[in-house]
């Protein structure tokens, strides 16, 4: 896997995820610029086991474009990317 130092991304968290992390925004330094690494880093910060991020139950957007689950593994982040992590919708 490609290793890059100092890729800083901003993660925004919504609804239940914001409450689980206790914040709506986190800047994360990624040593590997992949989605898998980002989730691994974020899961180090969760406060209890039942709050661990389950990728299958996330809606993800990068720079305000929704990314389908099949494309998440292909993501390569760059510094300044805005990543929205959202629970699956429950509107209506």
């Amino acid at each position: 896997m490609q290793r890059r130092a100092g890729v800083v991304v901003r993660v925004r968290l919504f609804a239940s995820l914001r409450e689980a992390f206790g914040t709506s925004e986190i800047d994360v330094i990624l040593h590997e610029n992949t989605f898998e690494y980002l989730i691994k880093e974020l899961n180090k910060a969760v406060r209890s086991k039942d709050q661990v991020l389950d990728v299958d139950r996330l809606l993800v957007a990068v720079n305000e474009e929704i990314i389908s689950h099949s494309k998440l593994r292909e993501l390569k982040f760059k510094s300044g990317d805005l990543i929205d992590l959202m629970p699956l919708p429950s509107g209506g």
Partner: protein, 138 residues
């Protein structure tokens, strides 16, 4: 075509009138109204629902769903309105209004639109009941 996410819904009669005025080809207008139920999934008494929407993506996804439905079903027009913030029991949460030449395509489009809004638009609800508050997971 109109997609709106706001603390208040426009009066339904105005939404319908606006659609009617847009074309004299309209032969059917179908309306879905989502309402807050008084009982939660676990049977407890609901006090209110609290809705949160992504500030930009919710509207963007809603518009995309509307455009696709209009094109796929040959609709003349359609409107979606969804509330955010606190919504009390018995109050309206969402209007989906579809205008078509004939009822057949209107019924199909309405059901598809409601399903897609619930599954795809980044809006989340918290159910506040007598026994506690929790985010609803679909």
């Amino acid at each position: 075509m109109k997609a709106k996410i706001s603390e208040r819904l426009d009066p339904l009669v105005e939404i319908i009138s606006e659609l009617k005025r847009s074309s004299d080809e309209i032969g059917a207008i179908l309306v879905f109204i989502g309402v807050v139920r008084g009982r939660g999934r676990d049977g407890s008494k609901v006090l209110r629902l609290e809705y949160e929407a992504h500030p930009t993506l919710a509207n963007k996804v809603m518009r995309k769903i509307l455009e696709e439905a209009i094109s796929k079903h040959g609709l003349i027009g359609a409107t979606i309105e969804h509330r955010v913030g606190e919504v009390k029991v018995g109050e309206d949460i969402m209007y989906v209004v579809v205008a078509s030449r004939h009822r057949g395509e209107g019924f199909k489009a309405l059901e598809e639109l409601v399903d897609r809004i619930k599954k795809e638009v980044p809006i989340w609800k918290k159910e506040v009941t007598e026994s506690g508050a929790y985010w609803v997971k679909e």
